[in-house]
């Protein structure tokens, strides 16, 4: 009985280790795909990204459904050739789907964050759902930017000054 339990634990451990290795293999595989894709995107081919999309892919935050709609969106991207680095976060597996998060940091300071849900689609891993968030350099999470503050202050100041002048004239107004 003792040896049976040890053998069983050994098999289970092997399965766990094997599964862990599978996840890391998948992660490596996806990383390679993404890196190859990004090279093409930054060479002026943003639609290269569509190669990894499933036909029924969705982009919930922009309410885009289907590969065609997202392909049309990718065609509108105007990404100039620029140097960049990619920061990958660990791949997370939930049942038979994989969640992949990575951030592309351009030397201009522009940052694009990708969160993708990969799943098996016709014996190949494809993206079923994605979220892309782009942020400009030094973007504030809250609070007005300097330029807008200056423009708005100037505009509001002028409006208030003119209003007070109009009120002054209204007080002095003796009728038509």
């Amino acid at each position: 009985m003792k040896y049976f339990i040890i053998a069983l634990l050994g098999v289970l451990s092997f399965q766990v280790v094997h599964a862990q290795q599978s996840l890391s293999e998948i992660e490596q595989h996806l990383r390679q795909k993404i890196e190859e894709c990004l090279v093409k995107v930054y060479e002026g081919q943003p639609t290269a990204y569509a190669e990894y999309l499933a036909d029924d892919v969705v982009m919930p935050e922009h309410n885009l459904r289907g590969k065609d709609m997202i392909y049309a969106m990718l065609e509108t991207w105007d990404i100039p050739p620029t140097d960049y680095t990619v920061e990958f976060f660990p791949l997370v597996q939930v049942d038979s789907t994989y969640f992949f998060h990575y951030e592309v940091n351009e030397t201009s300071g522009y940052k694009i964050s990708y969160v993708e849900q990969w799943a098996n689609d016709d014996n190949e891993l494809k993206i079923k759902s994605l979220s892309i968030i782009a942020s400009e350099p030094a973007m504030q999470t809250s609070g007005i930017g300097k330029t807008r503050f200056l423009i708005s202050s100037f505009g509001l100041g002028i409006a208030l000054f003119l209003l007070l002048m109009i009120y002054k004239k209204a007080i002095a107004w003796k009728g038509k």
């Binding site: 982009m59 922009h62 309410n63 885009l64 049309a72 969106m73 509108t76 991207w77 892309i132 782009a134 504030q140 809250s142 609070g143 007005i144 930017g145 807008r148 708005s152 505009g155 409006a159 003119l162 209003l163 109009i166 009120y167 004239k169 209204a170 007080i171 107004w173 038509k176």
Partner: protein, 248 residues
């Protein structure tokens, strides 16, 4: 006896004499600048100077264009009156009837369609706001023979119809968190300024602008749409609107 109907383009002139003398003309021209800049600033990130990765849907573009033309019309109309181009003001006024209908249709379609696409509840408050704005504008046109009421009704209509711009000005252009009193202040600023102006200009209490301000204050703070659309009548109304506009 035959009647000869002569269709002609109104005579154009540029006489700023009245504008320089009459503070009422100056006040309404200032409100025209205010509404134009509020709309431009409020919708700069999401419409006019949009830099998002996702394309703007067609119905939103149509909605944006129609409302932009309406704002521009308000500006032009104030300018026409200020520069003594009353004939042009009346000529352009004929076009605003059609524009108001488009305003209503595109506004309602945008609200209902956006709710459908996002699987959210329909924004009843915005539906009411548009209904109030369009109604006030129609009333303003009906009262066009009465300068005093016509101008004030139009200003109240503009206030109601630019509520979305005011919210976006505070939240996205200025990037402030949801600041209730800032948004309320910006929203009521033109009407409050009008109430103060009327008391100073006419040297006695003028109730018309006060009533218009009270109407919008009631709608803003009492939120009658919460009550209306929670009733079975309100829910049926939403369903009817969805069937009419979305053909569902």
């Amino acid at each position: 006896m035959e009647r000869k109907v002569k269709l002609s383009i109104p005579k154009w002139q540029w006489d700023l004499g009245r504008l320089k003398k009459d503070p009422e003309k100056q006040f309404f021209l200032l409100t025209a600048f205010w509404f134009t800049l509020v709309v431009l600033g409020g919708f700069s990130d999401s419409f006019y100077f949009k830099e998002s990765l996702s394309p703007t849907r067609s119905f939103i573009k149509v909605h944006g264009v129609v409302y932009s033309i309406w704002t521009l019309f308000y500006f032009i109309q104030c300018l026409m009156v200020a520069s003594k181009n009353v004939q042009w003001h009346m000529f352009i006024g004929n076009l605003t009837l059609l524009l108001l209908i488009l305003l209503f249709l595109t506004g309602y379609y945008t609200i209902l369609k956006s709710a459908e696409l996002r699987a959210n509840d329909v924004k009843g408050g915005t539906l009411i706001e548009i209904a109030i704005g369009v109604s006030l504008a129609f009333l303003a046109i009906a009262k066009r023979k009465n300068d005093y009421q016509h101008k004030r009704l139009m200003l109240a209509a503009m206030t109601a119809l630019t509520s979305a711009a005011v919210q976006r000005l505070a939240r996205t252009y200025w990037n402030f968190d949801d600041n209730f009193w800032l948004i309320a202040g910006l929203y009521f600023a033109p009407l409050v300024a009008l109430v103060i102006f009327d008391q100073l200009y006419f040297k006695k209490i003028r109730y018309f602008s006060l009533i218009l301000l009270a109407l919008l204050i009631f709608n803003y703070f009492a939120n009658p749409h919460d009550f209306i659309f929670s009733t079975s009548f309100g829910k049926s109304l939403i369903e009817i609107l969805q069937r009419l506009f979305l053909w569902v």
